[in-house]
C-alpha cells in the first residue's frame, strides 16, 4: 500500500505503535520506554524514517529490535519504512521514561539509581551504590556481580527478603 500524504498516520500515532514493541531482552518495557527510538519522521519521498540508537555496542538485541520495529510498522500497513542508526549522542539510561522505570521495578529489576548526564559520573565513581530491593524496598542489599544476564544489568541480593534481583546500571 502506498500511503499518500493525506492518509499518512501521524508521527505521534506511529510512536504509539512503537510504544507497544517490547525490548527482546526485557519484554516488560518497550523500545520507546528505553529511549532506543530517537526520531520518527516522514521524509520528502514519503518514506518513514525511524532513527534508533544501540544501547550497548555489543548488545545482540540491536538487530532484532530494528527488525521488530520495521515489522510493527509494516503490520499497520506502512510499507516504505527505513531504519537509521545514530550513535551520537550515546544512549544513556537517563532516557528511560518514568513509565519505563516503573515497569522495570514492577518486573523485578531495580531501575538506574542516578542520572549519568555525561560519562564522568560513571568514570569518577568509586564505591558500589546502595540499591533498593525492587521486591521489599529494603536498602540493605549487596552486590553479587557487576554483570548480570545482560551487560546492562548487575546482580544484587536483598539482605532482608533474601531474594536475588537485577539492577539496571546507570549508563
Amino acid at each position: 500500500m502506498d500511503v499518500t500524504a493525506a492518509a499518512r498516520p501521524s508521527v505521534d500515532e506511529i510512536r504509539g505503535w512503537l510504544a507497544e514493541v517490547p525490548d527482546p531482552e526485557i519484554p516488560a518495557v518497550s523500545v520507546v520506554d528505553l529511549g532506543i527510538v530517537r526520531d520518527v519522521q516522514w521524509d520528502a519521498s514519503g518514506e518513514l524514517v525511524v532513527t534508533v540508537t544501540p544501547t550497548y555496542s555489543g548488545c545482540p538485541a540491536t538487530e532484532l529490535i530494528a527488525a521488530e520495529i520495521a515489522r510493527a510498522i509494516r503490520g499497520r500497513g506502512v510499507e516504505r519504512v527505513r531504519l537509521d542508526t545514530r550513535l551520537s549522542p550515546a544512549w544513556t539510561t537517563d532516557w528511560i521514561s518514568d513509565r519505563g522505570r516503573e515497569k522495570l521495578s514492577a518486573y523485578g529489576i531495580a531501575p538506574p539509581g542516578y542520572k549519568v548526564v555525561d560519562a564522568s559520573a560513571i568514570l569518577r565513581r568509586r564505591a558500589p551504590e546502595t540499591v533498593a530491593c525492587p521486591r521489599c524496598g529494603s536498602q540493605r542489599t549487596s552486590l553479587t556481580s557487576r554483570f548480570g544476564s545482560t551487560p546492562c544489568k548487575a546482580l544484587y541480593r536483598c539482605d532482608d527478603c533474601l531474594e536475588p534481583f537485577d539492577y539496571f546500571k546507570p549508563h
Binding site: Y56, S57, P60, S88, A90, A119, I122, L123, G148
Partner: protein
C-alpha cells in the same frame, strides 16, 4: 604518511585490541570459576566485540577498498593484526586473566576518554559510546585484583605472579610511533606517553589496596602495534578465522 593511512592503522589498533581480547575472554565461556564470572566475562567480551565492530567498520570505510568489518576480522593474517601484545596473552589461571584485563581496562578507559574529544567526529562518537562500557569493565577487574590480592595466601601469590608476569607487556601502550605521532598532530588521536602517569597512578592505587607490590620499571616487550606478535596470536586467529577460511562467505 597520509592522514587516511594513519587513521586506518589507528582504527585497526583500537579494533584489534578489542577483538583479540574479546576472543580470549570468550574462551572462558562455560568454564569460568563461578557462573556469575562466566556471565561477567562473556558480557565484557560482548561489549568488546561491539566496540571492535565499530572500529573495524570505520577502518574499512577509511581504507576504501571494499573491506568491511568481517573481512578485516576474519581474513587478515597474523602480521596484519595491530593489537598490543598484552591482549593476545593466554588466559592462564583466573588471576592471569584478571591481571591482563585490569592493565588493559585502566588504559582503555583513559584512551577512550581522550578519544571522545577527537577532532574526527566518528572516532569521537565511537569512543564516547565505548568509554562508559570500559568504565564498568575497570570496576570489575580492579575489584578482582583487590579481592584476590587481599585474599588467601594462595590467591595473593597467584595475583602477584600474574601482575609481575604481564608487566612487560604494558610498555607498548605508552610508546609513540609514526602513526601515533600523525594522529596526535592532526588532533584525531592522543599522545600515548601522556596516559602513562595517570595509568600508573591508578594501577598503583589498586595494587596498594590489594596489598600487592607494583612491579619496578624494566625491559618492555613491543611490536604488536606494528604487527610483530608473540607466537600465541596465530593460534587464536586459527580458531577464530577457521570457519571463514574453510567456508569462504559462510553466513549464519
Amino acid at each position: 604518511m597520509g592522514r587516511d593511512d594513519a587513521l586506518f592503522q589507528y582504527c585497526l589498533r583500537l579494533g584489534d585490541n578489542a577483538l583479540v581480547l574479546a576472543q580470549r575472554l570468550g574462551e572462558w565461556t562455560g568454564k569460568a570459576p563461578i557462573i556469575e564470572e562466566d556471565l561477567a566475562t562473556a558480557n565484557t567480551a560482548l561489549d568488546l566485540i561491539g566496540q571492535a565492530r565499530m572500529w573495524l567498520a570505520y577502518a574499512g570505510e577509511i581504507e576504501g577498498s571494499g573491506r568491511g568489518e568481517d573481512e578485516l576480522a576474519f581474513l587478515r593474517d597474523v602480521s596484519d593484526f595491530r593489537n598490543v601484545l598484552l591482549v593476545e596473552q593466554a588466559n592462564g589461571n583466573f588471576a592471569d586473566t584478571i591481571a591482563r584485563q585490569f592493565y588493559f581496562d585502566a588504559w582503555n578507559v583513559r584512551a577512550l576518554d581522550a578519544l571522545s574529544r577527537s577532532r574526527d567526529p566518528r572516532v569521537a562518537e565511537i569512543a564516547a559510546k565505548s568509554v562508559k562500557e570500559a568504565a564498568y569493565h575497570l570496576e570489575r577487574s580492579a575489584d578482582w585484583v583487590v579481592r584476590l590480592g587481599d585474599g588467601t595466601e594462595e590467591s595473593r601469590a597467584k595475583m602477584q605472579a600474574a601482575i609481575d608476569d604481564l608487566w612487560m607487556y604494558t610498555g607498548e601502550f605508552f610508546e609513540a610511533d609514526d602513526i601515533d605521532r600523525a594522529v596526535t598532530e592532526s588532533g584525531i588521536g592522543f599522545d600515548p606517553a601522556a596516559l602513562h602517569a595517570p595509568w600508573l597512578e591508578e594501577v598503583k592505587r589498586v595494587l596498594d589496596d590489594a596489598t600487592l607490590s607494583t612491579p619496578a620499571p624494566g625491559y618492555m616487550q613491543r611490536g604488536g602495534k606494528q604487527g610483530v606478535h608473540t607466537e600465541k596470536l596465530g593460534y587464536l586467529l586459527a580458531e577464530m578465522q577457521f570457519l571463514q577460511r574453510a567456508y569462504p562467505g559462510a553466513q549464519w
